[in-house]
């Protein structure tokens, strides 16, 4: 691993270390910008979409953690 790759990896680990969380946060901010600054969508719609994508990111990364695991308890 060269220095540049190492630095990028260290930055990624420092910032989130989780591709799903990073992607969800970036999508939430990008969509928020598009909705509010370009499409001039209503404030409530933008707020709900922004929070929903953050929540979706959290749920998806947790789903990945249990993927393939047997249910230990009912």
């Amino acid at each position: 691993m060269n220095r540049v790759t190492g630095a990028i990896k260290a930055l990624y680990t420092f910032l989130s270390g989780d591709a799903i969380i990073l992607t969800a946060a970036l999508i939430a901010f990008a969509l928020g910008l598009v909705l509010l600054q370009i499409l001039h969508a209503p404030n409530t719609l933008a707020a709900v979409a922004f929070v929903a994508i953050i929540v979706a990111g959290l749920v998806m990364t947790l789903r990945r953690e249990i993927a393939g695991r047997p249910r230990a308890r009912s």
């Binding site: 420092f14 910032l15 989130s16 270390g17 989780d18 969380i21 990073l22 969800a24 946060a25 970036l26 939430a28 901010f29 928020g32 910008l33 509010l36 600054q37 404030n43 933008a46 707020a47 922004f50 929070v51 953050i54 929540v55 990111g57 959290l58 749920v59 990364t61 947790l62 953690e65 249990i66 695991r69 047997p70 249910r71 230990a72 308890r73 009912s74």
Partner: protein
Amino acid sequence: MSILNGPLASVVIAAFLASTVEFVEAFTIVLVVGVTINWKSSLAGTAAAALALVALVGVFGTALVLLVPIAALRFAVGLLLILFGLKWLKKAILRYAGVKAMHDEEAIYEEEMAAMRARGERPSARLDPFGVATAFKSVLLEGLEVAFIVITFGSAATGAGSRATGITWAAAGAGAALLVVLSLGALVRAPLQRVPENALKFVVGIMLTSFGTFWGGEGLGIHWPGEDLFLLALVAFYLALAVALVAWLRPWGRPQVTLASAERTAAHAIEEAH
């Protein structure tokens, strides 16, 4: 004769109340970083942010309001806090659901201290980049907001004499707010130190995600209902969500085995094997 006339008194009170909200927000982050990571990192981040603030105010003065893009700053800080917050919250949820092993903090702490003593290190000598960065950006953002409050409220008090007088009294209001928040913080610090680390990390994950959502949303241009009070609604929302996620994941969790006890068992097994 009263020192403060009507308009000046209203400037002091308005600056005090608005600054209190901002100082509480910054202090919450400084406090949780101090308690969960270490005070050296938390105070280093705070000191660096205070120096940056002094430099910014010293260089730009009242023109700061025009030159610093506060929306862009909220956007960047919000994004980083959401990333940090979700990372912590994810780990805390997995631990509480039993999917990941719980930390036995006391045992781990003792082991780490013993290892550090053996290496001749002092625990307080370690600066944690995450802790420093989190405290730094929170204090910088909130400090800038306080500077904006002082400058705008002070400048608006045109009926109170000169602009400089208004700004001086607004700064006095903000200073009083800082003293109140620091005094209250000193009172809650000791009880917080006794809260288990896992519980604190769970709360910190929720707080960072809530603050990140709030500031990031403001940076995007979202107007939260009730303004800063909406932070409490976000905290309640993320707390309810986290509790629901723990309940959802629990069927996949193992019976709880602490990390330290697992390590002790593993070490014992290795010794036996030799």
